[in-house]
């Protein structure tokens, strides 16, 4: 009777209003059997981390298309650390220049996906990361 669904928070921080990508990903994760908490547009880092905490998600996915990822991501990671959420992986998707990918990962981002990533890739990578985290 045990049933541990993968719970994912999908959020769009910052001011850009393009949420199609986030919705496509949310839908794909739903179809892969996950429970997706979708928070919608214009979320502040505080809102995202608080929602992730209340929803006790296994992973946080944020979508940033505005180029503000180097400003928003550290803030989210800092808030996660403040709330003892280092065990929750952060996924960043969006228009991320190659040179920023390694910088984001150095900050502590678990997964970075750029344009053209298939939803299959995203699903597989989330499953692997979450199951790995649970095994710890």
């Amino acid at each position: 009777m045990q049933e541990s669904k993968i719970r994912v928070l999908i959020a769009k921080p910052g001011l850009d209003g393009h949420d199609r990508g986030a919705k496509v990903v949310a839908r794909a994760l739903r179809d892969a059997g996950m429970e997706v908490i979708y928070t919608g547009l214009r979320q502040t880092p505080e809102m995202i981390v608080e929602a992730a905490l209340q929803e006790d998600v296994d992973i946080i996915g944020i979508s940033i298309l505005s180029g503000a990822h180097m400003a928003l991501t550290p803030r989210i990671l800092a808030l996660m650390a403040e709330n003892d959420m280092e065990d929750v992986p952060l996924l960043v998707g969006g228009i991320i220049p190659d040179e920023d990918i390694s910088r984001l990962k150095e900050m502590g981002v678990a997964i970075v996906f750029g344009p053209g990533t298939s939803t299959q890739e995203i699903i597989a990578s989330i499953q692997e990361t979450v199951l790995g985290e649970r095994a710890n």
Partner: protein, 337 residues
């Protein structure tokens, strides 16, 4: 786990969240958890909010929570959305409408997937509400999945039930059908600025007149409750006049009044003794449910698989009928106890 419960009772949000996950995922843990914190429950006013998809439940919950916070009450919110019958996945989108509530430590929102339950709630919703209750939230708002006609579990899950409709719900025949409209303590016509709102309000008021003989603001004026009509309505609390209220949740219009009525309903429940009746009905239902599950589990455990399969096979071959098979199972399990 005890530490987690201790922390949750002290209002630590991460502990509350963790405890909810455990209760959602594993019935055995749920049992242990509820056994430990049950004595801390029973303080909160539990309000169910139901209605069809798109009627504005989430937006209204957002507004209700804001108004309740203005009145210094802390608010726990449990918002349920459906799980896919095919993949088991779910898109829980109620938070999109609740962005105003972010950053308030007097509010805790939890989204739940229905995980195969059909009554508008999830199996674990009752236990999740208990965790929030024990953690000290004054009011708990339960938002059901978008409900059509028959998803009425919410009526037993809480103290006060709000049924939300939007204009254009259909004609008067819809309003006199059995089901969801019967469970309302308060009827809300949301999106009252939309065309057709008056018609919907009228249809609902007409329904109430047909049913209990009393309408608060009917255009024929209030009518007294007669003994006969009280019998006809089949509800215990005939002295609570079900009202039809109009709101425009996106502007907050009518929300103050709605909160006044919700609080008045609580006062009514407590002063009339109906609060106790509802607690009794809920406890009865809960015990029944737990008994069913546990009894089945124990029965499965006490009879060897081979015997089960043997009996099933005999029924399939029409050697015995299914009722006699169950009698045999009972006899066997009593023997083994």
């Amino acid at each position: 786990m005890n530490e987690l419960i201790e922390q949750a009772l002290n209002g630590r949000r991460r502990a509350i969240a963790r405890l909810i996950t455990q209760v959602e995922n594993d019935p055995a843990t749920a049992k242990q958890t509820i056994m430990k914190l049950f004595r801390n429950t029973g303080q909160a006013h539990i309000v169910g909010i139901t209605g069809p998809p798109g009627s504005g439940k989430s937006t209204l919950v957002n507004e209700l929570a804001k108004e309740l916070r203005r009145r210094t009450r802390t608010v726990g919110i449990v918002a349920i959305d459906p799980s896919s019958p095919f993949t088991g996945g779910a898109l829980l989108g109620d938070r999109v409408r609740m962005r105003d509530l972010a950053g308030d430590s007097g509010i805790f929102i939890r989204s739940m997937a229905s995980r195969g339950s059909l009554g508008g709630l999830a199996r674990a919703t009752g236990d999740v509400v208990k965790i929030l209750d024990a953690s000290g939230f004054d009011v708990i708002l339960i938002e059901t999945v978008g409900a059509g006609q028959a998803e009425v579990d919410i009526a037993r899950a809480g103290h006060s039930t709000l049924v939300i409709e939007a204009p254009g719900m259909g004609d008067e025949i819809q309003t006199i059908k059995a089901g969801i409209l019967e469970i309302a303590d308060i009827l809300v016509v949301n999106k009252a600025d939309r065309p057709g709102s008056n018609r919907t309000v009228k249809a609902l008021k007409a329904m109430l007149m047909l049913g209990s003989g009393t309408v608060n603001q009917g255009h024929h004026g209030p009518k007294p409750v007669t003994d006969e009509s009280a019998h006809n309505s089949g509800k215990l609390d005939d002295s609570w006049p079900v009202q039809v209220l109009e709101t425009i949740a996106t502007d907050g219009d009518g929300v103050k009044n709605l909160v006044d009525v919700i609080i008045a309903h609580k006062t009514y429940l407590q002063s009339s003794g109906e609060w106790k009746n509802r607690e009794f009905a809920r406890s009865k239902q809960e015990i029944g449910q737990i008994l069913q599950t546990e009894f089945l589990d124990r029965l499965y455990d006490s009879v060897p698989l081979k015997e089960w399969e043997g009996l099933i096979a005999s029924v399939a071959k029409r050697e015995i009928d299914p009722y006699s098979a169950v009698d045999k199972l009972f006899a066997r399990s009593v023997q083994n106890e």
